[in-house]
Amino acid sequence: MTALNIEQLRKTYDGGVEALKGIDLSVSEGNFFALLGPNGAGKSTAIGIIASLVNKTSGRVSVCGHDIDEAREAAKANIGLVPQEFNFSVFEPVESIVMNVAGYNGIKRSVAKQRTEHYLKQLSLWDKRKAPARQLSGGMKRRLMIARALVHEPKLLILDEPTAGVDIEIRRTMWEFLTKINREQGTTIILTTHYLEEAESLCRDVAIIDDGRIVEQGTVTELLSRSMMETFVLDVDKTSLPAKVGNFALRLRGDGKAEVDVPQGVAINEVFLALSESGITVSSLRNKENRLEAFFVRLVQSQREQGSQA
């Protein structure tokens, strides 16, 4: 069974922006899936369409086997959504926000009460249950939206940048929590994030979307082995660098260190040779740990180059 199936999905907004240019995507049940892509790639648009918040231009979407056009209610019943922007009534107390959404999903009050307590406790918001939502901090608001999305215990949980603006500690507990419901309740999870090290260590499958198209898709391990490129981080003695030395792409990072991409099978000596010829001294070298991020950056860069040539 697939939790989500998307075929040839397109969206052109009223203003004429073509946000999705025909994407195909399939997410198996029980998966922990990351949808990655730069700002404006179309991630939130795709999520909006899946959750019926955005009207699609064309294509098909089905959730747990229910087509969102033909069996809209059944599809919606299986989705829990944590949107990118806050969308709750700021004057409403935390507890009644979650209770109301349980009601909208047809859950009787007695059951809704128990579930609300359970999820607010799980997300460390129980103390705040009487507080109006506007009194919550940014990270608490995100957690409130997670509790709200889970109260009807959906099979598919979609989170649009759940860790944006959340501190490291909470981010870690949030990931642990998501991993737990994925393992224990079998909830399929789809999320978007700009923290690629998280996606690399936690997600099973990944799709990378850029400019309204899916440019890569597969398991994290597949993608990394397909990348055929190793990235090294160098301590260099220069504050400006050429874009290339020999055949190797070179990037200066914000912290003053340099990154160099080396195709697999090429001897590292050649990199040093090229660097020496350009008069660059390297004082230390290490492997880039966040390999998915390196892959992502290269992929998006090469897309941009192709785009500017076309």
């Binding site: 909006g48 019926s52 009207n55 209610e73 009601g103 909208y104 047809g106 709200r148």
Partner: protein, 259 residues
């Protein structure tokens, strides 16, 4: 199938409860001003000026204006409740909580409308209680009185919903009440019988839908009306079907709420 009905029923009850709690929480803003207005009308028009007029359509002037004043409260408040509730749900985006839930658009609409009717009737009841201090009226035809009140409240709640769907700013939800609703209500024969008007203006008045509601309601209370009762029901029902249909088709297309 039964399961679906249960979901719709629970969702409906949730929306209604939330809507009623919303206006009860801010009752000073939502329930008391119309009562104060009504007191002023009854003192000024009914008491001070009315004492010079004595009778209209064969009933004491105070008794003549009371049904219209109650109706005005119902009309304005039903409209205001739904337009402001729906519009703030749109502006703060929490309408999305309902859009992503497995609830039919009919249930969403019905929930908001029942909320508006609750506010309209609450105000109507309060104004009626106030009216007891000025005159001892009791409805001659309770069923007609109540049914006209509820149907009118439904109609203007639908109007408020429609307004909120189209509104982009807070100004957009005050334009219609100020420039359309209030004039139509005043010209709908609250304070005078249209039989007093020249033929031409009687004809023009009959184009005003509010006239049919106020007269239908007045018939329920006093047994006197400028309009045949069936016409009152026909006009209100026609508007309910038209406005309700429009609201639903807009909701189904996602107009004003989806991107």
């Amino acid at each position: 199938m039964i399961e679906r009905l249960i979901v719709e029923r629970v969702a409906f009850a949730t929306i209604v409860r939330k809507e009623i709690r919303r206006f009860m929480r801010i009752w000073v803003q939502t329930i008391t001003p119309p009562a104060i207005n009504a007191i002023l009308y009854m003192i000024i028009f009914g008491g001070l000026i009315g004492s010079r007029i004595r009778e209209m359509d064969g009933v004491p002037y105070m008794d003549f204006i009371v049904p219209g004043i109650i109706m005005m409260g119902i009309i304005i408040n039903s409209y205001a409740n739904v337009s402001s509730s729906m519009f703030s749900a749109k502006m703060q985006f929490f309408i999305e909580e309902l859009i992503v839930a497995p609830v039919s658009n009919f249930t969403i609409l019905a929930g908001f409308i029942v909320g508006g009717v609750a506010r309209g009737l609450a105000v109507g009841l309060l104004v009626s209680v106030v009216a007891f201090f000025f005159t001892d009226l009791s409805p001659l035809h309770p069923f007609i009185t109540l049914s006209i009140a509820i149907l009118t409240s439904i109609m203007f709640s639908l109007g408020g919903f429609l307004n909120a769907l189209f509104a982009k700013t807070f100004d957009d939800i005050s334009i219609i009440p100020n420039f359309v609703l209030t004039p139509l209500t005043y010209l709908g024969g609250i304070f005078y019988s249209i039989t007093m008007l020249p033929d031409f203006w009687q004809g023009v008045s009959k184009l005003n839908p509010v006239l049919y509601m106020i007269n239908g309601f007045r018939f329920g209370i006093l047994g006197a009306s400028d309009i045949p009762l069936w016409q009152s029901y026909a006009v209100i029902l026609l508007f309910i079907v038209a406005l309700g249909g429009l609201c639903l088709s807009l909701l189904n297309r996602g107009a004003g709420i989806k991107r």
